[in-house]
Symmetry: C2
Subunit: 189 residues, 2 copies
DNA sequence: CTTAAACGTTGACATAAGTCAAGAAATTTA
DNA sequence: TAAATTTCTTGACTTATGTCAACGTTTAAG
């Protein structure tokens, strides 16, 4: 159950095995169905997830019912509705499983205790924040002025799994183009 | 010289005045001319800035010489080319003063010493990261699917100074629309 | 395994926004 | 203060991408 989690932390930290075991103890197993919503738009997000198997997605619905996909997370990644997890305000976005998934869940108060207790883990959290920031920056400014073809090429280079494993419809809603346009662009590659 | 800096820290932390004085001691005064480039695209950013007076901008130039404005910072804000400051890799973006500016500059190694020494300051830095992340998120996902008019309205609501104090040309390059379109949209408001 | 639903592809058409250019207005510099 | 530069605005035209619809294919659920 904790195998992938432990491997992940062993790879990116120099935490002792006993510490990793201790940390893992605060993550409990949760299985989720295909399309299950783990955080609703109106809810405050209190959990930090590690994906053992499956895929997750952050998305929003606007007033006309149009979905926008914000973020996709795959196996052996952390995932949460971060702004809500940070600020403890309603998420304003949905956190969803895209497949039947096996997740490890840590409660917010445990998570903050852990990062206080383990500077190495705090460093991991800061890295997640910094990486989130840098990725957002690249995404915004990479896409600024890109046409549909350039967006798709950029995504193939930088986040290939999104185009390989995610449906056209969701990938299009991530790229900010219509499914028709994505389909047409792919045909030209 | 340190008046605004001290007020700023007094407002958002509970640091003692002697600590704030100590911290301020690591920030030195720098004056910069209108349009002066403080960090070049190819440089690694080693400084953290506090703006006493003036305005700063982060922007990029693509291969066709087209400018994209990424971020505007005003008086009493911190500013730096953050991804480069974090990773110590070439910035890939320009940090520029838009007006004759008075800045307080802290060297990276001093900055990291300070946040190590003062958990309150570390909290300020983490807040800057978290806020940067959240703002980027809002910007991306707010703009996703917006047309030019909606982008302008959003910016008036959320970052009014950009439309009030920044030239049309630069604001347009921030919004990802052409100056002509911004001009036409403004006329309709 | 079968049926129903959702998704992907493609064509025809509509439209928002870009480009280019020219003149007016504003700002900077000498 | 005057000249020079840059920026703003507006019109005419172009173009990329969206919308809608139809059809075939894939996927999911009973």
């Amino acid at each position: 159950m904790y195998q992938k989690f432990k491997e992940y932390l062993q790879n990116i930290t120099s935490l002792k095995e006993t510490d990793i075991d201790y940390i893992a103890g605060f993550f409990s197993l949760k299985t989720a169905k295909r399309n299950e919503i783990l955080v609703d738009c109106a809810q405050v997000c209190t959990d930090f997830y590690f994906i053992n198997t499956g895929m997750m997605r952050i998305y929003t619905l606007n007033s006309e019912g149009i979905e926008t996909s914000r973020f996709f997370a795959f196996e052996e990644m952390f995932c949460t509705a971060l702004p809500s997890f940070i600020d403890q305000k309603p998420a304003g976005e949905y956190l969803q499983c895209l497949e039947k998934s096996e997740l490890l869940v840590c409660k917010r108060q445990d998570f903050y205790k852990l990062i206080k207790q383990f500077p190495e883990l705090d460093r991991v959290y800061r890295k997640i924040l910094e990486l989130g920031f840098i990725t957002s920056q690249k995404r915004i400014y990479g896409f600024q002025g890109f046409n549909a073809l350039e967006k798709v090429k950029w995504t193939i280079e930088n986040q290939p799994r999104i185009l390989l494993r995610i449906s056209n419809k969701m990938a299009a809603s991530y790229l900010g183009i219509s499914p028709s346009t994505l389909s047409r662009v792919k045909a030209k590659l």
